[in-house]
């Protein structure tokens, strides 16, 4: 990931750009998520007649997203990042809470199919997200067919060719099939499909974690360029903190389906307040062996607790070296601290 970091350090224009976006965030948010929870019903462990119990994959997540903003969502595997993305897009039913898109609650909304043209998603596995029986051109054209039926064939072909060019693919390849492309090219096709309707929000569900490092940088830069050009908001889900640092304006840290910390990027990376965020930060390798050797790591002990049987009070207390008796009794709420919100009782003492 080092080359992305270098890129971000050397790219002064990119930094000022993100600062500019930070200043213009005065209008109403385009997406408002409140207390969103997703539950799955799973068979319980005690035999086939044990009935079913609820697994809460996403628990009371709230956040705002403004036009043109990039929100990073980080957390370890199984913390509910992808589930959150799918619940926002209504691909999974929310058990509680609301997802307000441009003033309309999407949960159980009848005109949802129309709204979908503004909300798109890019998937983790580039090849699996493309239909193997369709040509790349047909795949990219599908949103147009669905939402812009009035566009004729010739015009549609022109738009698809333009989009191919825009994401760095040669338009002569429109008649090829997905398996004939490399992983990075497949992800470009996925981006072209998501971008062709000029959506206002794209959810990127780990868009680069299946790609190798040099390709990752290309794809991340492509997303940034597209965002600069078309001004869509991004929700960027990743477990890679360096990539998130490079592309995001704000970062939300999830643990076991709950938000433990949200902050402006620079604040979060400079002074993480939640012990979990600190542990995550200290796990990022530093590409300088001297510093790397000398720094003190916060090593988390134990595993992620089972979401079927989450601990009482603070969900992180089982792995937290600062845990006290209050942590077992009281669920910490997100506390606003100026550009940073933390869900920890003792964030001041740490």
């Amino acid at each position: 990931m080092s080359d992305i970091k270098q890129n971000s350090d050397g790219d002064g224009a990119g930094d000022s750009d993100s600062d500019g976006a930070g200043e213009t965030l005065v209008a109403a948010p385009i997406l408002r998520v409140r207390d969103l929870s997703v539950e799955f019903s799973v068979p319980s462990a005690d035999g086939i007649f044990g009935g079913r119990r609820a697994l809460t994959a996403v628990n009371g997540v709230s956040f705002d997203l403004h036009a043109g903003e990039t929100l990073g969502v980080v957390g370890e595997s199984g913390c509910g990042k992808s589930t959150l993305a799918r619940a926002i897009l209504q691909l999974l039913p929310a058990s509680r809470g609301e997802v307000v898109w441009m003033g309309e609650d999407l949960v159980g909304h009848p005109g949802l199919r129309e709204r979908r043209r503004d909300l798109q998603i890019i998937f983790q596995d580039p090849l699996a997200s493309l239909n193997p029986r369709m040509t790349a051109g047909d795949i990219v054209a599908e949103p147009l067919r669905t939402h812009r039926g009035e566009i004729g064939r010739a015009e549609r072909r022109r738009l698809v060719a333009e989009m191919f060019e825009r994401v760095g693919l040669s338009p002569v390849m429109v008649n090829r099939y997905p398996h004939e492309f490399s992983g990075g090219q497949c992800q470009r096709i996925g981006i072209a499909r998501a971008m062709i309707l000029r959506p206002r929000l794209i959810l990127c569900d780990e868009p680069v974690s299946a790609l190798d490092v040099s390709i990752q940088a290309q794809i991340v830069n492509l997303l940034e360029d597209l965002q600069r050009e078309f001004g869509m908001a991004l929700i960027f889900i990743s477990h890679d903190l360096s990539v998130v640092r490079h592309i995001c304006h704000r970062v939300m840290v999830l643990y076991l389906g709950r938000v433990v910390e949200v902050a402006e990027r620079d604040i979060l990376y400079r002074s993480p307040r939640h012990p979990y965020t600190r542990a995550l930060m200290s796990a990022v390798p530093i590409p300088d062996p001297r510093i790397e050797r000398e720094r003190r790591r916060v090593v988390l002990e134990g595993d992620l607790p089972s979401p079927l049987d989450p601990p009482s009070g603070c969900i992180f207390r089982g792995r937290c070296s600062y845990a006290r008796s209050r942590c077992a009794e009281e669920v910490p709420v997100l506390e606003e601290l100026g550009g940073q919100s933390v869900a920890c009782h003792f964030h001041n003492d740490i």
């Binding site: 493309l130 239909n131 193997p132 669905t146 939402h147 060719a161 008649n175 360029d225 050009e229």
Partner: protein, 301 residues
Amino acid sequence: MNTKPSAATLEAALNAPRVHGRGVWGDAARRLFRNKAAVASMVVLAVIVLLAVFAPWLSVYAIDDIDWDNIQAPPDFAARHWFGTDGNGRDLFVRTLYGGRASLAVGVLATAVSLVIGVAYGSVAGYIGGRVDTVMMRFVDVMYSLPFMFFVIVLVAVFGRNFILIFVAIGAVEWLTMARIVRGQTLSIKRREFVEAAHAIGVPSHRIILRHTLPNVLGPVIVYATLTVPQVILIESFLSFLGLGIQEPLSSWGVLISEGAKVIEVAPWMLIFPGLFLAVTLFCFNFIGDGMRDALDPKDR
């Protein structure tokens, strides 16, 4: 790659010859044609189909012409009874070819019927899932449990003997397996990310089924269909053997075999020739089906 494409380069790219990809189907076809058994079977099957189609012009005898001089006669090239005659003095060559018409028509049409019903039913049940799926598939289970012969006999008793009825009866039984196969495949396909992507785009359900899940289940469906054709031909032969199928003077391989079986000691040619045609046809379909399965097998890719 980060620069905005200029109008000129875009124009050039649009006018450039497009690269045509090798589709999944194209690849499969190429592999199928490399399979010698499958290709040979296709050739033999084509010959049999052509013989059946052009039957009236291939012999001087009509299907119900009776040659009073040659009753139950062995093959006789001078009299142009190449396969001999049956107990009524009718030319067996013509009857075998006509029988092929009936058997192949039943085989292909009943398979088509079962294909249409089974694919539609299975993909809807699999795609919708949940309670709808449970109800639809339990109905299939109930249909499965009905004894097939009993079902056919009831149909014949109610509607009388009828060529169409054979399609209905066989199709009504064969679609059940097809529906199960399609449903199972659809269940696994609909969890794939490209279907989720189509959902996210807002593609309506019927289009998702038609454009996304269905094309991806067609591989196993085609394989099963080619294996259904011989099965249906066998069922038709069985029904005809029991006297529930094709009516005189028309014939099918099943009817001819049943007649031949009665006189196997005195006129073996009456069993051998139609039996040979049936067996060769069944082999061909099975080889083609095997070839297709190998050609479409994703593990081979």
